[in-house]
């Protein structure tokens, strides 16, 4: 069973900061992760060397719920991240949701869903985020093929 990564939460305040959407991110994150867990099962079934871990990055303005796929024994392959990002619109009360599959370090995008804009409520964010995560869940073959060869080398290095 995969470990659940701890929340990376930079907000100390018990309530959302002014202007931030008042959304139950735990509920939204859990829904996204259910869909991404199905993706993980399919990837690990088809490509037994692949492993995945769930994660989330939160700030006052939103949530990035993701699952990282990698081949632990091959450090030459950039891990892949299937993730759904929920972010408050800068000039309005709504929420913008984007989802894609990209190289964790390279940032190279392998698949991208059409972004959605919904009301900044849990009731609106939950089904929209879940639908995008399910769309990403159809990318098992893309992930398996990408992890089978180092097609996404990191673009940056300090060496």
């Amino acid at each position: 069973m995969n470990p659940v990564l701890p929340r990376v939460d930079v907000t100390d305040a018990p309530t959302a900061p002014a202007g931030a959407p008042n959304i139950d991110w735990d509920v939204v994150h859990a829904a996204v992760q259910r869909a991404l867990a199905e993706l993980a099962e399919e990837v690990e079934r088809g490509w037994p060397r692949a492993r995945s871990r769930p994660g989330e990055t939160t700030s006052g303005a939103g949530l990035f719920s993701y699952r990282t796929f990698e081949v632990p024994t091959d450090h030459g392959i950039d891990p892949l991240v299937a993730g759904v990002d929920f972010r408050a619109l800068p000039n309005g009360p709504g929420l913008r949701i984007v989802a894609d599959l990209c190289g964790e370090e390279s940032g190279v995008i392998l698949y991208e869903c059409s972004p959605r804009e919904v009301a900044a409520t849990t009731a609106a964010a939950l089904p929209a985020g879940e639908a995008l995560a399910r769309e990403l869940a159809g990318q098992a073959e893309s992930i398996g093929k990408a992890l089978a060869q180092p097609c996404c080398p990191p673009l940056e290095t300090t060496e």
Binding site: V10, G55, F64, E104, G107, I109, P154, L155
Partner: protein, 128 residues
């Protein structure tokens, strides 16, 4: 001239906003070179069709500080490193090592939280 302290402007961390990618790599990012500080690598721009995290250096809280490479001394033009410093303004190598050691683990480090807090625009696409 050594790498230059940069306290304003925006830089881009290439890749996804995962905990691991916002944490330096042990052994690779913890060692600097002539003209370049060790630490988390960022760049002044983002290549076409590449995803990254826009970091506002004015939002970067201590002990983290950003240093632009000195390209004349072997650094890379446009490359900016984010690294913890001590009260003397020197690289806090023990803290950098401690931070990097959490990259492949389930624990998260407070310096990763500070990076997240300095992200002005997440998941932007190049060219920028």
């Amino acid at each position: 001239m050594p790498p230059t302290l940069q306290t304003a402007g925006t830089v881009y961390r290439c890749g996804a906003a995962t905990k691991a990618n916002l944490t330096p790599r042990p052994g690779r990012d913890t060692v600097g070179r002539t003209g370049q500080m060790p630490g988390l690598s960022t760049f002044g721009s983002l290549q076409a069709s590449v995803k990254g995290q826009q970091i506002d250096l004015a939002l970067l809280q201590m002990p983290l500080r950003a240093f632009a490479d000195d390209s004349a001394e072997g650094g890379t033009a446009g490359h900016v490193t984010i690294v913890p410093i001590n009260e003397a303004g020197e690289v806090d190598r023990a803290l950098l090592d401690e931070w990097a050691a959490t990259r492949a683990t389930d624990e998260h480090h407070r310096l990763t939280d500070l990076i997240v807090a300095a992200i002005a625009q997440p998941n932007v696409r190049g060219p920028l």
